[in-house]
Amino acid sequence: MNKLKQTKNIIIAKPQKLDCGKEISNFPISYETYGTLNEKKDNAILVFHALTGDQFASGKNPITNKDGWWSYALGPGKAIDTEKFFVICANVIGGCMGSYGPSTIDEETGKPIGTNFPVITINDMVNAQYNLLEHFEIDKLYAVIGGSMGGMQVLQFVSNFPDKAHIAIPIACTSSHSAQNIAFNELGRQAILADTNWRNGFYEENKISPDKGLAVARMAAHITYLSKKGLQEKFGRKLQERDDLKFSFDADFQIESYLRYQGSVFVDRFDANSYLYITRAMDYFDLSKQFNGSLSAAFSKTTSKFFVISFTSDWLYPTAENREIVIALNAIGADVGFVEIESDKGHDSFLLDVPDFLDTLGNYLKTNYKTVNEKRI
């Protein structure tokens, strides 16, 4: 992955204690920025990516040559308007786009770290990214925003750093991974582990990779990102370039062909070990457990204004779970707004062109930016 050398990096020199007990230091964080940091440094937004995202939230992703994962929401004139705001997005640790992860080369052995990489948590990811505030000398972010695993990072961020963001927008997420969430992630991990190419995680040194396992993991996960209605409308029982069933195990149906395609393009841009580590971090996420079972206690010191967003057809992180965050915040009198956006696009709604979502998010960020600044003057 020579192209990774083109990504922007900072090396975090100071040691960071991980939840697993290990300590890391001198590790890289890859990031990308959009827009310009103003003189007062009050227009910065930290965006957190989801499971398979990366730092390339907008514009062209130089590694995949495709649009950034949040191109609908983020860019000049978009909801997260980069003509107005300075947006930072970093690859999480454990990831495979340049930040410290299982594919990072161990300097001592000259080989990828593989499964010698420590098991990390959402908390570890957030603490690592906090270094970016120091790097850019930003005292307080205007906003922290993220969907899915990005939303979990938003919640962890405001809990860890209660006075470092004016606005917190967790989208389509949960404060605690459910048994169903863990089950789907385990399915994906088992698909990778079952691939003989995985070799206990030391595949890169053998110049092979568990592509089949990773592709199956992606296929299974992809189903959870869509809604039944969305799938039915897009694919139904339509056949793939054929007039009738072939009585074989080829991709007869369009949906099969679609999933196979999703799996095959995914393996070109994602590392199987990263998939294991990041899904593990999501499964370990249980914010209330960090505060003796009280989610409200996680936010007791917060000064942030919250905007929680869920989607009607999201069954992976359903409205009820997003509402639990709202309820916990209301219990302590925090400033929290909440809306469930109508959409057939399932969990992926936050990544797609859903005008109600994009308009509300955009207006919310614009109006509150004014209010926050007025208060300061």
């Binding site: 309820i327 209301n330 707004g337 909440f338 809306v339 469930e340 109600d356 308009d359 207006n363 109006t367």
Partner: protein
Amino acid sequence: MKKEFKVISELILQNSKVLDVGCGDGELMKFLRDNKTTKIRGLEISKNRVQNCLSKGLTVIEGNAENDLQQFPNNSFDFVILSQTLQAFLDPEKVISELLRVGKKAIVTIPNFGYWKVRLNLLIKGTMPVTENLPNEWYNTPNLHMCTLRDFFNFCSKREIKIFKSLALKNDKTLNLSAKNLAWRNLESQLGIFLIEK
């Protein structure tokens, strides 16, 4: 702005914590935020209206009073407002008790079914009343539990709810309302505004 909202805002103390239940497009919230207090929250059932409010920078939660007030702790607001929606709930009694649990005081406004035009409608025409304030037919009205100003007075005394202040609106004119002038006010006014406390 609606006269009703002006009267409500006059009842609210500067810098108090306010919850507007059924805040609609946030017209009252915005007025209160600009003139009375920044500590104002809203609860609204319609997604579009919630989106409108959030777009204006107002802190609003999607939800309804029957299910979603329970998430607020006791006495978490100084004032809880319920404007002209009490009659639309399945269980108005429960809603009132929730308002008075969440708020130290509640401001409840009621379209008056005792208004003379309403009474006349039923008496003369023999049909369910349709007026400017109550424009729906019986088969499509959201109003399940209409009451008169006297009914609300009786309800409060039965439930030992203190009426701190009560006002009536007659064609946008504010009138004082009390047990003494109730018979007449119950006939001439379209709306009752009650500041209540447990």
